[in-house]
Subunit: 346 residues, 2 copies
C-alpha cells in the first residue's frame, strides 16, 4: 500500500510499504476512504530532525472495515466507520469518565508501532472501542468531509466548548482561525453561546467563522486585540475563551480577555510547558484553565447523527482535496496557508 | 484604638492610633468582637522589607455595627455581623456571578487606605454589600469561633471544594494541613465526597482533619506522597485535588496525583507566577485548574445558617485565643507551628 512518511522538517514522502496486518485479536484493518492533514502535523513539518527511517504520518480517517480480529464483536467487513484520532478500549475507568484519550489500553497513531492514517490501509487497535459505524453511507456521499471532520478537527473544537461548559447566555471568544478554531466556533454556536468573538486575521477563514456562528471578528493581536475584546464585552471580558492555537502568545491573550470567574479551554497542543498561572494571570480573577487532547470517541455517536441529519456541516473546513500521491503538496499548501485543511481522497 | 501593624519581617506591633471614621456614605464602623491571624499574614512575616510607617494587618472579623454612613440601608447600630475578608458592593456584574472578590467597587484590607482588621475598630467600605447580619447572637455565644471562621478560612476551604464541584462519589485529596486545608476537608465532607485523603505531616492537625471527614492521611511528600495517593485510588489518581498551600511543591504534587479529567482547585495564594501547564502536567491528561481568592460573600448566608443550626463547627481550627496586646505572640506561635490558628478576643 501507499503510506505517508516524514523524514524531517519539510520532507514528506509517499512510499509503497507492506500492507498492515492484524497484530492483536482486538485489531481491525480499515481501507481508508478519506484521510487528512492536521494542523498538529505542521509542528514536525517545521522542526523534525532528519530521520533515516522516516515517521509514519496521519491520525484521521473514515473508511471501510476490511478485516477484523477474532475478538472484535461489534464490527463486520464492509462497515463504514469513523476512527477517532486516538484509539481506546472505551470500557476502562477513564473511558467511562468520558476521557478516552487517557484510556489504559489506548494510544496514538503516527508512530512506528501503530503506523499513520495518511495511507491506503490502516491497522486500528482496540477496534470495538475505537471505531464507530456510520449507517447508510457509501463512498459517494456528500457527507464524507463532515464525517471525516469528526475524526479530529470538529470534535476537538467541540471538546474545547464542552470542557468550558458553553451554554446559552455566555460570551465565547475563540482564539485562532485555523480549522480547529473555526470548529470551536461552530461547536459554541451549537451549544447556544450568545456572543461568539473570533480572533483571527485571515479574511477567508473568518468569513467561514461568521457562517459557523461568529458574531464578531477581531483581527488584531496582543494588547490591541485584548482591548477590542474587552470593548466588545462591556469592559468585563469573555466568560469563556477557547484557545485553538497552542502557542504562548495565544495563552497570554487568553488570560488577558477572560472575565473574572471565567474559563480558558485549550485544545491547541501547547508548544510550551511553563506559563503564568499565579495571582497576576489566572488566580487573582478566579479563572479556570481546562482542556486537553479531545476524547473524540465520547462525542462521536451524537455528532454522527447531527451530520446525518444535516444539523451541522463541519466538513466545510476542508477547502482542498488531493490524492495520496499529492500528500506532500497538501502539507506545503497548509504550511503556506494556501489551504485551510486538506483532505486526501483514496 | 489599638491596632496591629507590621514593620518588617518578624516585627509586629500593636499601637494606639486614632479611631477610624466614616469616609464614604456607604461605610460602616464595626467594633471588633473577634479577629484572627491568617496563614497568608505569615508571608510578609517572613519576607516584608523594613517599613518606617508600618502596614496595618488583618482581614478577618466578627463584630457589632457601631455607626453607619448615610447611604447604608440594610444595617443598624448594634447588628452582629460577619465581614468577608474582601469588601464588595454585592450588586455589580461580577458579584452577581458569585465572584465578589472581583467586585468593581471592591477591595482588600491590610493596607493604609482601608486599614487592618486586627484592631479594636474597623471601617468597612461597601457595608451593605459586605456585612452579613447574624441574627440572635451575642458576644457570649459559643459559636463565635465558627462565625469568625466564615470571614475567611472555612469559606476559603469551601471555595476550593465548590470550584472543583465536589459531589458524592468523588475522591478528594487535600494538600496542606493548615487551617485552610482542614477547612477544605470539612467542606468536601459537607459536599458529599466519598473518599477524602489529607496530605499533611502534623499529627494534631491531621487528627482534626479526620474528625472533619478525612478518610485517609498521607504524611509523605514528593514522589513518595504521590505514590501513596495513587495506591489509595487504585492507581487512577484523585478526581479532585484541593491545594491549600500556595507553594510550588504543593502544585507539583497536585498534577502528580490528579486523575485524567480531574480538577485541581487552588486556594493557597500562589507564591509563584510561572508553573508547568503543558502536555506533561495538565494538558495531556485533560486536568482542569481552578480556584482563586474566595468570594466568601457568596457563601456567607448559607454557612451562617449551618453554624447556627450546629451542622458544622469550623471554628475548631482555632486552638489559641489572645488579647489584642498579645497579637505579636499570636504571629510567633503560628509561625513556629505551636498554634494552628489564633483568634483575638476583644
Amino acid at each position: 500500500m501507499k503510506a505517508t512518511f516524514m523524514y524531517g522538517a519539510g520532507d514528506v514522502r509517499v512510499e509503497t510499504v507492506p500492507d498492515p496486518i492484524l497484530k492483536e485479536t482486538t485489531d481491525a484493518i480499515v481501507r481508508v476512504v478519506r484521510a487528512c492533514v492536521c494542523g498538529s502535523d505542521l509542528h514536525p513539518y517545521h522542526s523534525m530532525p532528519h530521520s533515516e527511517s522516516g515517521n509514519p504520518m496521519g491520525h484521521e480517517l473514515i473508511g471501510v472495515v476490511e478485516e477484523i480480529g477474532s475478538a472484535v464483536s461489534t464490527l463486520r467487513k464492509g462497515d463504514f466507520v469513523v476512527a477517532p484520532f486516538a484509539f481506546s478500549d472505551n470500557t476502562c475507568s477513564f473511558c467511562r469518565d468520558g476521557f478516552q484519550t487517557a484510556c489504559i489500553h489506548g494510544g496514538w497513531y503516527g508512530n512506528p508501532e501503530n503506523g499513520g492514517l495518511q495511507a491506503e490501509l490502516a491497522r486500528i487497535p482496540q477496534a470495538d472501542g475505537s471505531l464507530v459505524v456510520v449507517p447508510g453511507i457509501d463512498e459517494s456521499s456528500e457527507l464524507l468531509p463532515s464525517l471525516l471532520s469528526l475524526s479530529d478537527v470538529y470534535l476537538t473544537g467541540y471538546h474545547a466548548a464542552h470542557m468550558a461548559r458553553v451554554e446559552p447566555g455566555k460570551t465565547v471568544t475563540v482564539i485562532g482561525d485555523g480549522a480547529v478554531g473555526l470548529s470551536a466556533v461552530l461547536a459554541a454556536q451549537q451549544l447556544g453561546a450568545e456572543q461568539i468573538i473570533l480572533m483571527g486575521r485571515h479574511r477567508s477563514r473568518t468569513d467561514l467563522g461568521r457562517e459557523f456562528g461568529a458574531t464578531d471578528v477581531v483581527a488584531e493581536r496582543g494588547a490591541g486585540g485584548i482591548a477590542q475584546v474587552l470593548e466588545l464585552t462591556r469592559g468585563e471580558g469573555s466568560h469563556i475563551v477557547l484557545e485553538a492555537v497552542g502557542l504562548m502568545p495565544a495563552y497570554e491573550q487568553s488570560f488577558g480577555i477572560v472575565r473574572p470567574g471565567g474559563v480558558i479551554s485549550r485544545v491547541g497542543v501547547p508548544q510550551y510547558e511553563d506559563a503564568p498561572i499565579g495571582f497576576g494571570s489566572l488566580f487573582g480573577k478566579n479563572a479556570t484553565l481546562t482542556g486537553g487532547p479531545a476524547p473524540v470517541r465520547a462525542y462521536l455517536e451524537a455528532a454522527i447523527q447531527q451530520v446525518l441529519n444535516g444539523e451541522i456541516n463541519p466538513g466545510r473546513v476542508f477547502d482542498r482535496t488531493v490524492t495520496i500521491d499529492q500528500v506532500p503538496e497538501a502539507y506545503a499548501a497548509m504550511d503556506a496557508r494556501e489551504a485551510l485543511k486538506v483532505q486526501i481522497a483514496l
